[in-house]
Symmetry: C2
Subunit: 192 residues, 2 copies
DNA sequence: GATCCCATGTAAACAGTTACATGATTAC
DNA sequence: GTAATCATGTAACTGTTTACATGGGATC
């Protein structure tokens, strides 16, 4: 199982609807997994059937009614069981890497554009993550926060997300720079 | 399609058997994708049927016969078409991140062990990648190599793989350190 | 009037993993 | 004799993505 435990982990920070989860699983907030709304609605239904989460219907005015889910005892136990099981290594699997791998045998311009685009997306995420981290740690410096706060899981995963995006941005810039030098252009390239 | 183009890109560096591809897709060499042997045999068969690769049977003594595949013109064209199509963003999807996200509500020791384990795996990969990069660039410094070499795709993707593993190792150490401080232990923790 | 956001879902297609199956050779 | 490496595949299962479907309210 895969998404299953990510959803359980996300619900540790309070009840949530499928829609809310989808938003945070899509853009940054929950930077430890990614999933589309459809998958979440499905998974939440299954989790409810298995007794790992509990849903309650909330009627709103001027909004469609929504279902808010909470972790159950059984859900928390399942999460604990999962945390103790051994991990499989994780891998990068990225179309853009495949394109760069092939870049010597394929038109360069579109790859350059995509590197720029990806770099910009990474920059946007860096911004979001930094703000999230600052919000979590408040006035404390990181060391103190990590040593004393009650909940540090989300901070630590966000830290990883931040470093990953920083690395992505740097690699995109470096790669695009090197490729531009090779193709004679110098727009956005490294220092002269 | 996903694995498909990764296989085509891998075949740019010469003909290869399913078995050889599986090895390099599993351990580092081709750090831009990951796949199991079964999937590769299947994919290569499909690619051959579609005329994107060509296979030839090679009988060996004291080894089972193997099938070596080469890119065709059509395969190269397909790769070019793929490189021009727009990219979707990529995401981290990692069980270990889910466990760290949940770490405040779940037993810490197993998570610490897994962080150490993952850190060690990352260190091993760093070693492999560094040696690969050094082999590719030979006597040249990186800047000169990237500016002048005929083929730089594999170097650039490996560079990304290297940074990713470095980041993984650092995060594992940092996270395990912080969690050990919190749980009173200090084995492997940060400076006192 | 069009588009975006909220809110939920079903169904089909596609991709990836796990289990099973075979069989020879080499190294310990 | 036991395990590892070479070498290929099939079948069943699980997980993810894409397409389709619905409908009201808010914003421009």
């Amino acid at each position: 199982m895969a998404l299953r435990h990510a959803v359980l982990a996300a619900l540790l920070d309070g009840e949530s609807s499928g829609y809310q989860l989808a938003r945070s699983f899509d853009l940054g907030m929950a930077n430890f997994w990614h999933a589309l709304p459809q998958q979440l609605y499905l998974e939440l239904t299954k989790l409810e059937k298995d007794g790992l989460v509990e849903g309650r219907r909330v009627v709103q005015e001027s909004r469609p009614p929504k279902r808010l889910f909470t972790l159950t005892e059984a859900g928390l136990a399942e999460l604990a069981r999962f945390a103790e099981a051994s991990v499989k290594p994780s891998f990068i699997r990225d179309d853009l890497m495949v394109k760069v791998q092939a870049v010597d045998h394929v038109p360069v311009e579109p790859v350059l554009e995509q590197l720029d685009e990806r770099g910009a997306m990474a920059a946007a995420k860096i911004d979001i993550f930094e703000r999230f981290l600052r919000r979590l740690r408040g006035d404390l410096d990181e060391e103190t926060f990590l040593a004393t706060a009650e909940r540090v899981g989300p901070y630590l995963t966000c830290l990883r997300g931040l470093r990953f995006e920083e690395e992505t941005a740097a690699w995109c810039a470096r790669t695009a720079g090197a490729l531009r030098v090779r193709s004679g252009l110098t727009r956005g390239g490294p220092r002269p």
